[in-house]
């Protein structure tokens, strides 16, 4: 599934009556199977963009579409991984992961099987019957990812999903996510604060700038194509192309303008 933004903008009025231009007219097309990373300082409208795509927020201007149909609300086809795990503490880890399938009327046996597969995938085998609040932050986040994957959405929207994790867990989940996106050809919209993470994960990196939020840089990441193969993480990170792109993006974030 692809998605398209057509002159989408978002304004809102604060409690003190001020009009905030959260997102300036933004047009964007993300083809099916693309992994897009979005970076930018706080308040640049990345989360607003994600909420519009998720269907949590109606844009005040323009149109957001998935394939050719207008986004009018949330749908299971657009899974969302939040910054916070948002697990439901009254359900076990397993029940949390199976919840989306339950909502959609999938039978118990199939729910169990799919749920288990996703739990295994994120490395939570053996924790199925734990209480969610007994898991560490990293495990909660993995459970959330398993919950979204179990639903098998075509588009996965992720809002700084690895922000609160330790370096080791983050790296592991990054590898898992890359593998999933390559194998299942998911379209992924991934917000992060880490430039390095964006260049490492994305097929394409968008840099956004605040007041009003807008896309100031739209760069494809073609390092793997240039080398003719998928480079392992460490090797990739040390290539001159990676370093150059990372610096270019970091500069753009810093200045808020596309480099000349």
């Amino acid at each position: 599934m692809s998605f398209t933004l057509d002159e989408v903008s978002q304004r809102y009025i604060t409690d003190s009556g001020e009009v905030v231009h959260a997102l300036a007219d933004t047009s964007l097309h993300v083809p099916a199977g693309q992994f897009v990373c979005v970076v930018g300082p706080s308040g640049c409208g990345k989360t607003t963009l994600l909420k519009i795509l998720a269907g949590f927020l109606r844009p005040t201007g323009g149109q957001a579409r998935v394939n050719d149909s207008l986004i009018t609300g949330p749908s299971w086809e657009r899974g969302v991984v939040f910054q916070q795990a948002n697990l439901y503490p009254w359900l076990t880890v397993r029940k949390n992961v199976e919840l989306g399938l339950k909502f959609r009327g999938v039978g118990a046996a199939e729910r169990r099987e799919t749920g288990q597969r996703c739990l295994d995938l994120v490395g939570l085998a053996g924790f199925e019957d734990q209480k969610t609040y007994e898991l560490s932050g990293g495990m909660q986040q993995r459970a959330q990812i398993a919950r979204v994957l179990a639903n098998d959405p075509e588009i996965i929207l992720m809002d700084e999903p690895f922000g609160a994790l330790d370096a080791l867990t983050r790296e592991r989940l990054q590898m898992d996510l890359l593998q999933i996106s390559r194998e299942r050809r998911k379209t992924i919209f991934f917000i992060t604060h880490s430039v390095e993470e964006a260049v490492f994960l994305g097929d394409r990196v968008l840099v956004m700038s605040p007041r009003p939020g807008r896309v100031v840089l739209d760069e494809p990441v073609t390092i793997s194509q240039q080398y003719g193969r998928v480079l392992p993480g460490k090797e990739l990170r040390s290539t001159p192309e990676f370093v150059a792109l990372r610096d270019r993006i970091a500069d753009t974030i810093y200045t808020g303008q596309a480099p000349a």
């Binding site: 949330p74 939040f82 948002n86 439901y88 919840l99 339950k102 909502f103 609040y133």
Partner: protein, 299 residues
């Protein structure tokens, strides 16, 4: 405290991780127990001091016994209210006002059970609807606040005119006292459900109905239980008002009647029993709450 600890350490080698974690767990339990004992000791000391002052005041007759009977007199009144005694005329009398005190207490608890029970059945439902449907809340909230601020003594007379002097008017009074706190707590619970919790469910394919049933309902449970605890507390404070008229048997009625008849010791005994029963019931509800909502404060 260190004795058994050292024994365990000598039995279990330091390098054994299971033994170590067992020891940590045992230490943890011990320190928790010690903490509980300290807390209980503090509360108990306050009780002893209060009793001591009370005893001294009555011992030296600083206040006439009619106004403040001694602790011993209150104890005697309590025993008398729970036993049978021979009168001078040779007739045997049991309890007070023809009922043992525990029968009075049970009668009151039954009234509370009916009044609060109906409130527990209806309150969460009404609160859930008011919390989820904006116009319903706008329409009903002022009347709920109006009802909440009415003193039960103010309208018990009206309820007796409407429903008679028997139990029905008492049920109504207790229901009306217990209903608003449960509804208000439920509304607050529904409003307090985190937006992301609902968004997450919606983007997993939940219909509005499913969001209500599987997300909002369980998420609201802690507040509903809190509301029920407050409602039961209200019911106890209202039970005397409910039993002012034809309240025998009833612990509130007995407290009122004995006060009218200048049996001050019995009145004080009734008050203490009401207080203890209320505290015990609340502790039970609190325990039930932690069983039903083990995640409260942890997630």
């Amino acid at each position: 405290m260190t004795g058994p600890n050292q024994d365990e350490a000598s039995v279990v080698p330091e390098t054994d991780p299971l033994g170590q974690s067992l020891r940590v767990a045992a230490d943890h339990r011990r320190s928790r127990r010690a903490q509980r004992v300290r807390k209980f000791g503090l509360s108990f000391a306050v009780l002893l001091i209060a009793l001591g002052i009370w005893w001294l005041v009555t011992r030296f007759a600083l206040v006439p016994a009619l106004y403040l009977p001694s602790p011993a007199a209150v104890w005697d009144a309590f025993i008398q209210a729970n036993t049978c005694r021979e009168l001078d005329s040779g007739r045997s009398v049991c309890g007070e006002q023809n009922y043992y005190m525990w029968e009075h207490l049970i009668a009151s608890m039954q009234r509370i059970a009916v009044g609060v029970g109906v409130a527990i059945a209806l309150g969460p439902l009404v609160g859930f609807l008011m919390g989820s449907i904006e116009w319903l809340n706008t329409a009903l909230e002022p009347y709920l606040n109006f009802l909440r601020s009415l003193p039960p003594l103010g309208y018990i007379g009206l309820l007796i005119v409407w429903f008679g002097i028997g139990n029905t008017s008492k049920y109504w009074l207790l229901f009306l006292a217990a209903f608003p706190p449960i509804v208000i707590a439920t509304i607050n619970g529904v409003r307090g459900v985190r937006e992301d919790s609902i968004h997450a469910a919606r983007s997993m394919g939940a219909s509005r109905w499913q969001v209500g049933r599987y997300i909002v309902l369980p998420a609201t449970l802690p507040e509903v239980i809190g509301g029920i605890r407050i409602a039961v507390g209200f019911a106890w404070t209202t039970v005397v008002a409910a039993e002012l008229n034809a309240g025998i048997p009833g612990i509130g009625g007995l407290a009122y009647v004995s006060g009218q008849q200048l049996q001050t010791a019995l009145t004080i005994a009734c008050i203490i029993v009401i207080g203890l029963a209320a505290v015990a019931l609340d502790a039970l509800l609190k325990h039930l709450g932690t069983l039903l909502v083990p995640w409260y404060g942890r997630a």
